[in-house]
Assembly symmetry: C2
Homo-oligomer: 87 residues x 2
């Protein structure tokens, strides 16, 4: 399955969230990661994030797709994405 993750967490926890998420997904833009992931790893990812975030302050949004073919990804402005960027 294909997953897009958008997180909105307190800056104190951004690094932890990012570290967990990058184990499974590729960083695309500030607060956004995406990638192909197995059902099992998706469950793991959610559990790991749940352990890191403060559920009363933070939020993580997942869009999941059965196929890798989302019709298009377009961007305006600077391209921030890239696997190797560290934010």
């Amino acid at each position: 399955m294909f997953v897009i993750l958008v997180y909105d967490v307190n800056t104190k926890r951004v690094n932890k969230v990012l570290k967990k998420a990058r184990k499974y997904l590729n960083w695309v833009q500030n607060s956004v990661l995406e990638g192909e992931i197995s059902e099992a790893n998706y469950r793991k990812l959610k559990m790991e994030l749940q352990n890191v975030i403060n559920e009363e302050e933070d939020s993580c949004l997942f869009y999941t797709f059965r196929t890798t073919k989302y019709s298009q990804r377009e961007s305006l402005g600077i391209k921030k994405g890239g696997d190797d960027m560290i934010i």
Copy 2:
């Protein structure tokens, strides 16, 4: 078509970007909007955002889908979404 928009813009321009985007899409979470949109309105939205953002500093990411049926949207933590929330 269905669009997910994730923006990452300088705080100076967040309100302008949000105002433009909310004309066409529904706010879901900090920096994330989504919704059903016509091809024509999608082009308009991109043009309007392009006029508002600083292309050297800001970025807007669009995922577009031919169908409204993305298989799932899940969230962890607090639910920030809601059409009527103003951030």
